[in-house]
Each structure stands twice: as C-alpha cells, then as structure tokens.
Amino acid sequence: MWSIIIKALPQLIAAGIKYTLPMAVIAFIFGLILALITALVRLSPRGGAFNIIKVIFRFYVWLFRSTPLLVQLFIVYFGLPYLRWAPLWPNGIKLGALTAGIITFSLNTGAYASETIRAAIASLPRGQWEAAYALGMTKRKVLQRIILPQALRVALPPLANSFIGLVKDTSLAASITIVEMFEVSQQIAAENYQPLLMYSLVALLYAVVCSLLSWLQGHLEKITSRYVLKRP
C-alpha cells in the first residue's frame, strides 16, 4: 500500500501545484474584485439610468447563484463555442479549458462573495459614513479608509468559507478536461485499480490545504480584530 501511495503522491501534489491552487487563487482574486464592484453598485444610492446597471448586476448574482457550478462550467467550455454571432464571434467563443475554468470559477465566487461584502458594508453603523463625510472626505476616501477596512473584518469568515469552498470546487474542472488533482487521482486509479485508496488520498490532500486555509483565516481574524474589545 505504501509503495502505491509514495508513487501516486508526487503526481497528485504536482497537479495540485500546477492547476488546483493557481486556479483557486486566481479565480478568488478576480472573484473578489468582481464581488466588490457588484456590492458597491448594488449598495449605491444612485438612481435614474444607474438603475439599469443595478439590474444587470442583480441578474448576474441571480444567474450564478441559481444554477449549478458544474452546469456553468459545461456551458462556458462546451457550450460557448456554439454561440455564433457574426459581428463579434462568427466562429463561436472558443476558450481554453483553463481559461474557461478560471472565468467560471471567478464569476461564481464573485456572485456569492458580493452578497457577503454587501452585507458586511451594510452592517456598519451609518455614523461611520457620517463621521467620515463630516470630515470632508470624498466617497472614495470614505470607502477606502473607513468603511472597507471595517467591512473586511466582518466579511473575513464568510469570505474564507467561499475560498475554501472554491478550492474544493476546482475538482469539478476535471470534467472539462483540466488535469487538476482530482483528475490525476482518477487517472491513477484507472491504472492501479485502487479507487478507494486514490480517492481517499486526494481527499486527504484537499483536507490538508483547507486546514491550512482555516488556520490562516484564524490568524487574519486576529489581525483584523485587534481593535475590538476582548470579551472575557
């Protein structure tokens, strides 16, 4: 048994470093940017023509929260090549598997995380905005210096949830031909007829990564909560 594990482990770890982790990290960064923009648009008090933009962002959140991630991956990778539209894409939208994966994971994470960020910003007392505005700060400064640093503390645990979820969800990329960790474990299992061992091993690797992330979350929570009065 050990010889099988020792043989499989380097291949799995290599796939993890080459695909699983980069996909998760890049998609999370894009997802966060998208989430922040979405949250700010949806919280904006502006009306009029701006309402159209709000509706678009609401539709985006609805779409990605209401459909399965696996189906989204299939649509982006297998489906979009058939979206033929003469002015822009006469031959359909053909994306590489990794690009399709990262785009889909980013959009999906962005939709969920936008709700987290929106709630975190909305949870801050109105007085924080008012005190900052009263000093004469522009809205941009108020957000940058006063609101977002405080919202980050509130949003950190659910955002960490999203990231941990994303790391595990990248295993779905196996189904769009990306040879990430889970795909590699399937290939090895097909060779050595040890599915229980191989899938348990890959499960363990996911668990190790996610445990590290949980630890990191705890550490970040301590840093961002420095200013909160400790309750005995």
Partner: protein, 248 residues
C-alpha cells in the same frame, strides 16, 4: 458667518423643519434648545449637509447656495471642511487608534504630511486631556474620553464652525463635566460653536445666543439673558422648568 433662510426639510410626509431662518454668528456660541423631535438635530445636520433640505438658502461667508437647486459635490466638500461635526455617539473610527483618528482627516482631507499631522494631533489630545490614551483604540475608552477625542478630531480640521449634536447626552454626569469643561474652553477661545443640548445649566454659562425650536419652527431666537428672563413666554418657561426639574 453661517446662515440659513426659509429652510424646509421633510422626511416623507413628516415636515421636520418649516421655513427656518437663523444665523450663527462667528466667534460665538449658539445653543439650540428644544424638546425631542423638534428638529434640532436635523437643523444641525443640515448645516453640515448630512441632510439635504428640500428648499431654503444657505450662506457660508460670502457664498450663497440654494437647497432647492442642490449643492455641487465640490461645494459640499468645501462646506464640510469648514463645519466639523461632533456626534452624540462619538462615531470615532473603531479600527484606528485615538491618535490616528485625529490624524486621519488632516492627512486624507487637508493633505498634511504625516509628521505634521501627528504633532498637531498630540497637541490637541493634550488640550482635551486624553493624550495618555493616544495609542488606545476607541473601544478601550470611556464615553467622556471618546467624546473628547471626537472634539479633538474635529478641531484638527481647523474648521470655522464646530457643530455639536447633543455631545453629552450619552454620558454620565462626571464624564459630561469633563466634556463640558473642554467646550467651555473652546467658548472662551471665541470659537464659532453651534451646540444642540439638553443641558440648560451649561447653556446658561456659555451661550451667546439661544435658538429654541419646537415642531420644526423657531419659537425663540435671541440672547441668553432674554431666554432666561422672567418675561419669557409661558411655553418656554414650562420648558425651562421641566429641564431644571424646578417643579416635581
């Protein structure tokens, strides 16, 4: 000189301020009195443009604005820089230390270099008597300390006016005294203050001018002596009696 004319503000169907005209002289302390819900806070917040009245004129020095036409973002920033606000519940920035709370506006709004802002902040914290807590976070302060830091934060912006919205209403009597001492000092320095308060004893000591509001209208606008004179209207006499617990 800060001045509003014909100021009207509603929240939905509820008219909170009705055709208010009043001026707040420079280098004087104006105390705004009145029962809860009379529109005092809304008036004060309108001066800092945290509220946007539907109609009325607003004059700041020689600049005139019309609320009905709206005030541009640029003018709003200019007015806010000149009229600093102190809130009942302090609204210090909890994620910044006391020192950084006082530095923040100087750096971000006035564009001062960090060193200069820091020196100025120390000086102001000493003035209000909380320099020993400079490195603490707001959550570690008592209410009286927090409010004095908020006053230091507003002074740091070197505003023409300081607007105080019930600055001591959330404090116990001893903490209130600490804050009132600071305010009295500001009054003696001839700063331009507008104070909304329920503390009549304090009003009597510092007010150069008293404005009494009820139901969104001004019932009195004049000197402190006239306000407390025995010839006062019965409504205001009743108010004074209630606030000083003269008849229980």
């Amino acid at each position: 000189m800060l001045k509003v004319q014909q100021l009207t503000k509603s929240f939905g169907k509820n008219e909170v301020l009705h055709q208010i005209s009043v001026d707040f002289p420079e280098h004087e302390t104006t105390v705004v009195l009145g029962p809860s819900g009379s529109g005092k806070s809304t008036l004060l917040r309108s001066l800092n443009l945290l509220e946007h009245p539907e109609s009325g004129q607003y004059a700041f020095d020689n600049r005139h604005f019309d609320f009905a036409k709206g005030i541009t973002a640029k003018d709003t920033l200019m007015i806010r820089r000149q009229t600093e606000m102190v809130f009942q519940d302090y609204n210090l920035f909890p994620h910044l230390t006391v020192l950084k709370n006082v530095m923040e506006g100087q750096i971000q709004v006035l564009g001062l270099p960090k060193k200069e802002a820091e020196a100025k902040s120390w000086e102001l914290l000493k003035k209000v008597g909380v320099a020993s807590r400079a490195q603490a976070y707001p959550s570690q302060l008592s209410g009286g300390q927090a409010q004095r830091v908020a006053i230091a934060r507003s002074l740091a912006m070197q505003p023409k006016y300081i607007l105080l919205d019930e600055p001591t209403s959330a404090l116990d009597p001893e903490a209130e005294l600490e804050v009132l001492k600071v305010l009295k000092q500001l009054h003696e320095e001839n700063r331009s203050l507008v104070i909304v308060t329920h503390n009549l004893a304090f009003a009597q000591q510092v007010a150069d001018k008293i404005v009494f509001l009820e139901d969104g209208q001004i019932l009195f606008n004049g000197t402190q002596e006239a306000f407390f004179s025995p010839k006062q209207t019965s409504r205001i006499k009743t108010f004074i009696q209630a606030m000083t617990f003269a008849q229980i």
